[in-house]
């Protein structure tokens, strides 16, 4: 393997290292265990949701409803605990079950009616957000039992629990993609749906599964987020789908389907985390952060595209 191939394969990790070195030099508060754990905790919800997005992208689809689902999970779980006096565990499970069902509905419409995923999930995104507003009337819901905050704010040793949840979900994602037979189906369907069908893969079922899993992971991310913020708000999940998409694309997941790895998505997520943390330490404004985030995405994907073109032509 020459250096160019290495760069193509691990380029995303190189970008991550460069960012880390840059911020370490630029700010003395960046490179220490405490701050790194803060970064990990900040990105944990994103990491969980990105696994679902990664699966969906592998199929050549997209799930724009992830952010709205996180909002709905926040509002529903909060409403159940505060207004319904339901136990935190039950409320969480009910909310996750709800987002999982929404994921299934996405998959059902996409696979059975064969509507384009971007339209289907755009519609459910809008509907789900509306439902969240209706439930809470636009007002924040708070005052949860103390035990609920453990998921989002607790630690095991020095490791924050959200980070542990993220590691578990991402490992699960990697196991599904690398070891299970249905994970292989994701690549086959995303790479060539017709050939996959003619190889005996039930393409419709694969789509159900993938969108359902995306809903499930969005639900788990939503509960962790709610527990961390301690307040159910209508804006809580706003923009999550695009951050998840950014992380996946940074990690080299093909938006045309058929190609992508969880390990690289981890790098994509860490890049986003390091960027926003580092820029806060450097007192960059939120708007500057947006500009930089977009530029990094454009640069990273542009770099990847150029490498690919070179490879196919050279």
């Amino acid at each position: 393997m020459n250096y160019r191939e290495l760069l193509r394969k691990y380029g995303i990790f190189v970008v991550l290292m460069i960012l880390i070195i840059f911020f370490s030099v630029a700010s003395e508060n960046f490179l220490n265990a405490n701050n790194l754990l803060i970064i990990a905790r900040q990105v944990s919800m994103l990491g969980i949701a990105a696994v679902g997005m990664c699966f969906v992208l592998l199929l050549g689809g997209i799930d724009l409803s992830i952010g709205s689902q996180i909002t709905l999970v926040n509002i529903v779980a909060a409403w159940l605990m505060v207004n319904g006096k339901v136990s935190p565990l039950l409320a969480s499970l009910a909310a996750i079950a709800l987002s999982t069902s929404i994921g299934f509905i996405n998959g059902f419409i996409i696979a059975k009616i064969k509507m384009p995923p971007i339209i289907v999930t755009l519609s459910t995104m809008t509907m789900v957000e509306g439902i969240a507003y209706i439930i809470c009337g636009g007002q924040p819901i708070f005052g949860f039992p103390k035990s609920f905050s453990v998921i989002g704010q607790g630690y095991i040793g020095i490791i924050p629990i959200p980070v542990i949840v993220m590691v578990i979900i991402m490992s699960l994602g990697a196991v599904i993609l690398n070891l299970t037979y249905f994970g292989r189906y994701f690549y086959a369907v995303g790479g060539n749906e017709e050939a996959a069908n003619l190889s005996g893969i039930n393409v419709v079922h694969v789509k159900y599964l993938v969108y359902t899993l995306s809903g499930l992971f969005a639900g788990i991310a939503g509960i962790v987020l709610l527990s961390r913020t301690n307040s159910g708000q209508v804006l809580s999940g706003k923009g999550f789908e695009f951050d998840a998409l950014t992380a996946c694309v940074l990690g080299g997941v093909s938006v045309n389907g058929g190609y992508g790895k969880i390990s690289n998505v981890v790098a994509g997520i860490l890049i986003l985390g390091v960027l926003s943390n580092g820029m806060v330490l450097l007192n960059a404004s939120q708007y500057t952060q947006m500009v930089i985030k977009g530029a990094v995405l454009l640069f990273a994907v542009g770099f990847d595209t150029i490498q690919r073109l070179r490879q196919s032509k050279a």
Binding site: N2, N192, S199
Partner: protein, 495 residues
Amino acid sequence: MFLQLNNITKVYPGVVALNNVTLHVNKGEVHALVGENGAGKSTLIKTCTGAVIPDSGSIVIDGKEFKSMTPKLAEQHGIAVIYQEFNLVGELSVAENIFLGRAIRKGILVDKKAMVNESRKIFRQLGVDIDPNKLVSSLTVGYQQLVEIAKAISQNAKILIMDEPSAPLTKAEAEHMYQLVYRLKEQGVTIIYISHRMEEIFKLSDRVTVMRDGNIVKTMNTSDTNVDELVKLMVGRELKETYPAREACVSDETILEVRNLSGNGLKDISFKVRKGEVLGFGGLIGSGRTELAELLFGVKPKTGGQIIFKGREIAPRTPQEAIDLGIALVPEDRKRQGALLEIDIKGNISMPILRRISRLFIVNRKREVKIANEYKESIRIKTPSLTQKVKNLSGGNQQKVIIAKWLASNADLIILDEPTRGIDVGAKYEIYTLINSLVKNGKTVLMISSEMPELIGMSDRIIVLSEGRITGSLNKGEFDQEVIMSMASISKGKE
């Protein structure tokens, strides 16, 4: 010399695709380019069009020298290519495709009427009957090819490169195309003609160049050579007879019986197949052969009739159900329907049986490798590694991978739809040998083929379809090219 390729070298990591290749083409000649898949023909062509930049060497067109081409330059100098894969936009009309990128305009608006009229003129010149208003996606592969040729001609191509143009065509369509090649030659167009079909090389070309392993082996006048010599030069060894002999494997047991089957454009199809038989299906493109395969394999539903397989009536609704019953399909379009190009060899072979070799959802990867290796050895898939992506294999090896996956799934009935399309001579022979060993091992083969010699050479029995109906059935002693052709052209439909 009208077109000169001088000392072209192109090296890919691990492969020398072109090794100091020099090819001179005279003005107005039909120059055939032959060689096995992977010999470097396509790469050479791509250097003429700018799709591939050579590492060294030069290209001279009509006295002007270039270090490398760009697609734009190639077009300006009258080079047009008809690739194996078409460059047509399915959702645009035939006329719009022909004038793609250079639409006839009236002010700022596109003058559709003029484009349709121009297209009609071109088609009249070609002697083909295509409605320019039709969407390209509604045409069969054969007609799409003709649109592609029409497009090149409308661009006043001076050098027309045809990459296996007859591969997807029926005999009648191919005949049209040959006439067209003669006509273009008369008009002074220079043609580089790539083909695996020997008869058309001798029919059409003035000179022929043989390539092997990235080198030019020899260029000679076509009239000074013969099929045997060409094949020998191409493969670098002597080939045995074109169709390997097969001991009789047909048993008395009927494995598949189809009664009055209809649906998917088919009407009242009835036939029986015995275990160990190779049943050939002849007919024109669109005659219903592929459609029949789709019904048997559960891709499309039947609307009437019965399918009795291994003594039981079946009605597969999905390919998965058909596979579980022991039916397999090697589809017509290898790249679009058959192979999972971005997935490695072992992943392709194991795809239909992944679930069977999994426990608690986890794939038993040791078994997967073992199975893949077994078939790689037994049917001789040429590859350094099972983790090679299938897109990096030659056509013949891709086809072997697809057949291997069905052997791994233990299918009893294997439907082969155009099993050797676009595959070179040496690999064809291996596919035929493979078919023989299938029936020898008790499998049954339904073989759809548009190549008449192959159909006659390989089948135990031939059924001919036309317009969705069976129009004839021949036993081994009765095979005759002309009889089959006339059966294939029987028309019962109302116009």
